[in-house]
Symmetry: C2
Subunit: 328 residues, 2 copies
């Protein structure tokens, strides 16, 4: 649905951060029964980043957030809302959003965590920020999606360990006078919750060796090819546009083959998207925000671009947001 | 702020569930160095419920949700939005909201998790639902707050283990034509995130023995006495009412002494609130929804009552929501 506002909400800054430590496919070959050629062919991944033993979720988040605030030319006290999305947190209590709020000095903000099981987080976090942004109490939102998967991966289980990576992405959304392109569409199909499960960390006790993502690959492959073009077409239509009116498309960076197929289905040429999962792997909800930030910094997304971002995965859950990258 | 809608949002059903197993103060005395008299004097707690080894967060949530749907006389397919709030989940992936969606058969809903570190969850979950409810795509929301603390407690650490309990509360919010009382106010002070910390379960590695809530009691005591009357007065004023215009007050059930002091500060007589932490302890975000459900079922909150609910705790975070309990 289009936002029922007489003001616009636009993205005025992006930031991202990935840990310095690079884990290549060759490194992965040492740890489990797999090989570089298979990983590249299957996922398009050459390497990924992994957090150091002392790096926590909030460390990555603060770094990405600072870069987004710098890009937006805003001080921390100008942020009214912080939404943090991650399947993992530093600790059980408090919310990571509050830790980030405190560390950044966003003293005027309301901060909370949301979660959709990782990969789908981005569209849900952005949409929730859009729902709160009213131009009165909430004028500017900092949305951060972060994952540290490496600390919870069973490195002997080849089909999941090799495609995940650690990282964080952040955006600043700002309200302003006048209209502007904005649309969101979210979906969850909890009837299929068992198709992507990462046991552990919760009340369901499982053997440590089983604490690794178990993904029904066939179902997720079909799901991704079905819902991504569908939800992207829905947000574009609900904003009154055609696919050709959208300047740039940001896809969840799970699998390069799926992204290419979905671009073909939508008729999106290569110059209107940005892919980086060869260097980062699948960083969950962070992936599309890292791709967005890179594309902005590379000049691929100039100010006043219409952008569609789509995220999807466990839940099953999927969503897309159409917004203006306004920049500064 | 008051909702900028030309329709109202009201509570049409409540439900709650607590595990059958009762753990009395006498049972606690066997596990650690404490005693019944001290627990009763300090917190007002006589007993609490604890989940069985096979009960997961989603089990409690589904039970509370079913009771709320029954009270609202709605089928699962009539729910458009599920917001689930808990510091713990069944598993890392998927979101508990999606598991609950799937198990209840709420096939038309969008479902996601939010978290504010436990106790404050209620006001944040309700407010987030209110932000989404637009009367178009989102007409009815199921909001569920659940905690299973018992599986993560260090039972030898007296000052936290004795005041927590497991449980779940749920409400159905519904949009309808015409105006109605509605106001929300949320706050977080992340600069004080270190005042309530429960390490463990996340990326920050800690010794299993340290995985227990560490609370700066003095700070939280002062905080609770300061922010609760303040935020309650704010929501009442922003809806255009006085304290005497509110029919019923629901407080987070952390500490009976703090509730009594805050009632005195606000001038709320005993017949306009309901306390049950003597039987359930502090069930985090679930506590005020369990109290709400009990008060409704006891006839203390008749249909068309104006209710204020306040939750607060780790973050530090606090919030209040003023709404109409419409019933059926």
């Amino acid at each position: 649905m289009t936002a029922p506002h007489d003001f616009s909400i636009r993205c005025v800054g992006t930031g991202s951060y990935a840990p310095e430590t690079v884990l290549t496919n060759q490194d992965i070959e040492q740890r489990m029964d797999t090989n570089d050629a298979w990983i590249q062919k299957t996922y398009g991944i050459r390497e990924r980043r992994v957090a150091s033993p002392t790096q926590q979720v909030s460390d990555l988040s603060c770094e990405a957030a600072k870069r987004a605030l710098d890009a937006a030319m805003l001080g921390p006290e100008q942020i009214d809302l912080i939404i943090h999305a991650s399947i993992n947190n530093d600790v059980r209590v408090p919310a990571t959003a509050c830790i980030v709020q405190g560390r950044l000095g966003c003293d005027e903000a309301v901060a909370f965590d949301i979660n959709l099981g990782g990969c789908p987080n981005t569209a849900f976090a952005l949409t929730t920020a859009i729902k709160y942004l009213d131009g009165v109490r909430f004028k500017r939102a900092l949305v951060i999606c972060t994952e540290i998967y490496s600390k919870f991966i069973n490195w002997s289980y080849r089909s999941s360990a090799c495609f995940l990576g650690d990282g964080s992405g952040a955006v600043v959304l700002e309200t302003g006078p006048g209209g502007g392109p904005l649309a969101c569409d979210l979906h969850t199909a909890g009837s299929q919750y068992a198709e992507v499960v990462w046991a552990g960390g919760g009340t369901r006790q499982v053997d440590p060796e089983e604490q690794t993502p178990i993904i029904n690959g066939r179902v997720v492959w079909d799901f991704g090819h079905r819902v991504v073009p569908e939800v992207i077409r829905t947000v574009i239509a609900s904003a009154g546009f055609e696919v050709d009116d959208v300047d740039f498309f940001i896809f969840h960076q799970a699998n390069i083959n799926m992204i290419r197929n979905n671009m073909a289905a939508l008729g999106v040429p290569p110059e209107r998207t940005h892919m980086n999962n060869d260097r980062f792997g699948n960083t969950g909800g962070a992936s599309s925000l890292i791709a967005l930030d890179e594309a902005v910094r590379l000049g691929k997304i100039p100010p006043k671009s219409r952008v569609v971002l789509c995220s999807y995965g466990a839940g099953l859950a999927w969503g897309a947001v159409l917004f203006e990258y306004r920049g500064r």
